[in-house]
Symmetry: C2
Subunit: 121 residues, 2 copies
């Protein structure tokens, strides 16, 4: 999804945001029965690898009452930063390792971040 925002910093409702910081992604992984916590561990390893990636603002891993669900809430400077994040060899290796634990993905929502609390100033 291309960002509709220009490159200039803007203000909506008094909250400043950087126009580059616009791409959000929320979605659910369903783990194999009994493997949810292992999948959480892999996704937190991914988050750790993403610490070096300045294009990744948030990569937050959560569970819910649904037994095998793992939710990931991501904020990226832009779509290209997200797409490029899948290319490094250590990330690819981690995806390969985690894949057998994953039954499917669903509830994926692509977002245009408008601002809020908890984003870099």
């Amino acid at each position: 999804m291309a960002s509709p925002l220009s490159d200039a910093p803007k203000s909506i409702g008094g909250c400043h945001y950087s126009a580059g910081m616009t791409y959000g992604l929320f979605g659910k992984f369903s783990a194999q029965p009994g493997r949810r916590d292992d999948l959480v561990t892999y996704l937190l390893q991914a988050a750790k690898l993403l610490e070096r990636n300045s294009g990744c603002i948030h990569y937050i891993v959560s569970t819910s009452d649904e037994p095998e669900a793992v939710w990931v809430c991501e904020v990226w400077t832009n779509v290209a930063a997200h797409d490029a994040s899948l290319e490094p060899e250590d990330i690819k290796a981690l995806i390969q390792e985690a894949r057998p634990l994953i039954v499917g993905m669903s509830d994926q929502t692509q977002l245009t971040v408008q601002g809020g609390k908890g984003l870099p100033g």
Copy 2:
């Protein structure tokens, strides 16, 4: 939703997190036709009021391809912090003002945040 986590700091998959920081909430507001951007403005005003609230870690407002949808992604230190955030008079007044713009809420997911990038250290 009560947190299943103890008070001690823990590490999962090498990512440290504070056990208090566990409550996430993701959900969608549907705005009256043509009023989405006004609702975004109100929600960003709410985010601005929440800057003073140390129990609020994230309050991020996004839109998507769905014409009247506004998504809010929240992280709180715990459920009580979220619930208490609705009590201040200025927040109540903002909710009253915004309410006529809102057709409904849906897709609400309560989350137990396990860790990741973009959370306070």
